[in-house]
């Protein structure tokens, strides 16, 4: 590399034509999202596909997805630090950056879902500590700040060495780096339980509700953890491969393959084990003959179920299980995409199972407060139905584009890769070739 004394480098030294095009695309999406949100604010939530029976939709489904996505990076960067290992060091900074972007996206997705966003401050002035939503609000906030602090901690000495103002006055000294390593250990020690809390509490928003079908299950929180591991690691791999391809960021092939293997293990635990654990008792209790129990156990019912288990579970698992396939970057990339898409559909399925069926469904049913757009023309319904509107999709894409912009700018302004390993790091032997 051109730099002589610097021990780190940014992935994007300057934006090329393509890079500018990418930023342009993100800005357009964000502008469209903002316009759509403005429209929704003037019209009210009638502009969405949500109605009285099906009262949470795309925003909450994507909130759940992005909370999960925010897990991977932080865990991959903090778990090894906690055990004083330098494994996956090459992914640490990128991981935290991706986590930070995802949790910001998740938090922002709540705003358009709120009927009166101007009153959000009441979370501080009038909170009810019994509400899982208050717990989640707190833990999302904490997690976001933690990510921000961690990213800065990981890079501040390098930022200082580069003379970047983002170092906020911190000096690059050997003693300082030493102290930071201790701080990193303690941050990792706090980050891991915070991540567990984040995903459990988000699961408990649903799992505490006796009124909504399958939501009320003690398994929901552990499943959310598993989902977070799968989708979070999946996204980190996707972003790493893309960054490796389109920027100066370089991934260590060996570590990539090794993380692919871990993704396979997470998938197996999540889709095979937890799913079986969830389904078998129901299948057993509901059916009498052996084959009836087995077929009910093994064969699901809804499209979402199949999208999730086969496309998002079985297929990527098979891809990652075979060592010869796993070595190919394209295979890891595809498997990761499938895993993330599968998790997305799992979240969608969860919301559907809660709202599809009304507990009391006698005619004429429940007044909707407006008809289901394009489904019925009357205000009564005995079941829930939902399709997102263009407005919801535009707002969601706009917010996701903002997350992508954070990652892109991070690659430009934050030294995301260590170039010259320090002595203590070199001992690990993981990535000296860079």
């Amino acid at each position: 590399m051109a730099e002589k004394t610097e021990s780190s480098r940014v992935a994007i030294p300057s934006f090329s034509g393509k890079g500018k095009l990418w930023i342009g695309l993100l800005v357009v999406l964000m502008a469209a999202g903002l316009a759509a949100w403005g429209y929704q604010l003037t019209m009210g939530l009638i502009a969405t596909g949500m109605r009285n029976v099906f009262s949470w939709g795309l925003y909450i489904m994507m909130f759940v997805l992005f909370v999960g996505l925010s897990a991977g990076g932080l865990i991959i960067s903090s778990a090894p630090k906690f055990f004083h290992s330098h494994r996956y060091e090459g992914f640490a900074r990128l991981g935290v950056l991706v986590s930070l972007a995802c949790i910001i996206v998740a938090g922002l997705l709540i705003l358009p879902d709120i009927g009166r966003p101007g009153r959000i401050y009441q979370f501080f002035t009038s909170p009810d500590l019994r509400s899982p939503m208050v717990w989640d609000f707190g833990v999302v906030l904490l997690y976001g700040l933690l990510n921000l602090w961690y990213l800065w901690l990981l890079t501040r000495r390098d930022l200082a060495a580069r003379g970047s103002s983002l170092a906020l006055g911190v000096k690059d000294t050997e003693a300082g780096r030493e102290r930071d390593r201790t701080l990193m250990f303690w941050t990792a020690a706090v980050a891991l339980p915070t991540a567990v809390a984040l995903h459990s509490v988000t699961g408990w928003i649903f799992a505490t509700q006796i009124g909504r079908g399958d939501w009320f299950s003690p398994l929901v929180a552990p499943v959310f953890i598993a989902k977070a591991l799968v989708s979070g690691l999946g996204l980190l791999l996707i972003v790493s491969v893309l960054a490796d391809r389109y920027t100066n960021f370089e991934v260590d092939r060996e570590e990539l393959t090794s993380l692919g293997k871990i993704l396979g293990i997470f998938l197996a635990f999540h889709v095979v084990y937890l799913l079986a654990a969830e389904r078998l008792p129901h299948a057993w209790a509901d059916h009498f003959e052996f084959w009836a129990i087995m077929s009910n156990f093994l064969i699901g019912d809804s499209v979402y179920f199949w999208l999730w288990t086969v496309v998002g579970g079985a297929v990527p698992l098979a891809m990652l299980a075979l060592p010869s396939l796993r070595k190919r970057v394209s295979v890891i990339f595809t498997a990761s995409v499938l895993a993330v898409v599968g998790t997305m559909f799992e979240g969608i399925r969860l919301v559907f199972t809660g709202y599809e069926v009304a507990n009391i469904d006698s005619a004429p049913g429940i007044s909707l407060g407006g008809e289901y757009t394009g489904i019925t023309t009357n205000i009564w319904a005995t079941a829930g139905a939902y399709t997102p509107t263009v407005v919801e999709i535009a707002v969601t894409l706009g917010i996701i584009a903002f997350g992508a912009l954070i990652v892109t700018l991070g690659l430009k302004y934050v030294p995301i890769q260590r170039v010259d390993a320090e002595p203590s790091y070199a001992a690990d032997g993981g990535k000296q070739d860079q």
Binding site: G44, N52, I360
Partner: protein
């Protein structure tokens, strides 16, 4: 302590929808929304029975019952527990109510309520006539609303509008903590159920089925507890217990203490009962 509850005698209910309509008009409920609905337990459609006609001359299996359904005012109300900003709360008298100035419109309470009792103002609420109806101020766009047991009437010593306007006397309102109240006596004496009892929400709305009760004893607009010297149990349920009831109801209707100059929207001088 007072703990208000409602008994609905499904054997008396004739499915006339009067409670649903009087609720909508009394509480100024927007178009497209209902706080109180009269459901048909039976066939697929409203007012249709399940089962079949005895075509072969044997006994038929036709079966139908009406189930008026609104907020059940649960003792262990999940909607109260989930509300992140304390907008939904339980009053000291047991009524579950929403502070519309606090509600942020997150709709977590709608997810929490097993009875789908809550509605959300998805757009600017529309009223017919435009100025609105009844004695309650309209709620803005973006908040959740639901049955309040007509707390504005209860505060004045009046029974909820649906109770007063039920022509079958199938709705009885009163204090569940007072053993001598009609609601307590009926719950004690008749076979009563709460909806979705297995969810553990412990609703304060109880449904009588099986043997028919004598129904709401008083014909007054006033709550039972306000009728000190009248013993509703001593006279038959068809005997008006108090001659100047309607006058009393009207005068109290005139000086409702609900604030705001746009309420009450009903002219203070009117003929007939308070409906």
């Amino acid at each position: 302590m007072t703990n208000y509850g409602l008994v609905i005698d499904q054997e008396r209910c004739i499915g006339c929808q009067a409670c649903a309509v009087s609720c909508k008009q009394e509480n100024n409920v927007p178009m497209g929304q209902f706080w109180n609905r009269v459901l048909t337990e039976g066939g697929e459609k409203m007012d249709t029975p399940s089962g079949g006609y005895p075509e072969d001359g044997g006994s038929g299996s036709l079966d139908m019952q009406y189930q008026p359904t609104a907020c059940q005012h649960c003792e262990n109300a999940p909607c109260v527990k989930v509300c992140p900003v304390n907008a939904t709360y339980t009053r000291d008298d047991g009524i579950v109510e929403i502070d519309y100035d606090k509600c942020i419109g997150c709709r977590y309470c709608m997810a929490a309520c097993p009875y789908n009792a809550r509605v959300f103002n998805w757009d600017e609420p529309e009223h017919m006539p435009e100025g609105g109806t009844g004695d309650v101020e309209e709620r803005p766009q973006g908040v959740v609303e639901k049955c309040t047991f007509c707390s504005h009437r209860v505060d004045e010593g009046l029974d909820p509008a649906c109770v007063v306007n039920c022509p079958a006397d199938a709705r009885i309102f009163g204090d569940l903590d007072d053993e001598s109240s009609t609601v307590s006596k009926y719950i004690d004496k008749y076979e009563t159920d709460q909806l979705l009892e297995d969810r553990g929400t412990d609703p304060k709305t109880h449904y009588i089925s099986g043997e028919m009760s004598p129904g709401r004893p008083q014909t007054s607009d006033k709550m039972e507890s306000e009728l000190d010297d009248v013993s509703p149990w001593s006279d038959g349920d068809d005997v008006p217990s108090d001659g100047d009831d309607s006058a009393g109801g009207e005068s109290s209707g005139g000086h409702h203490s609900v604030s705001g100059d746009e309420v009450p929207r009903v002219p203070s001088v009117k003929s007939g009962g308070d409906d």
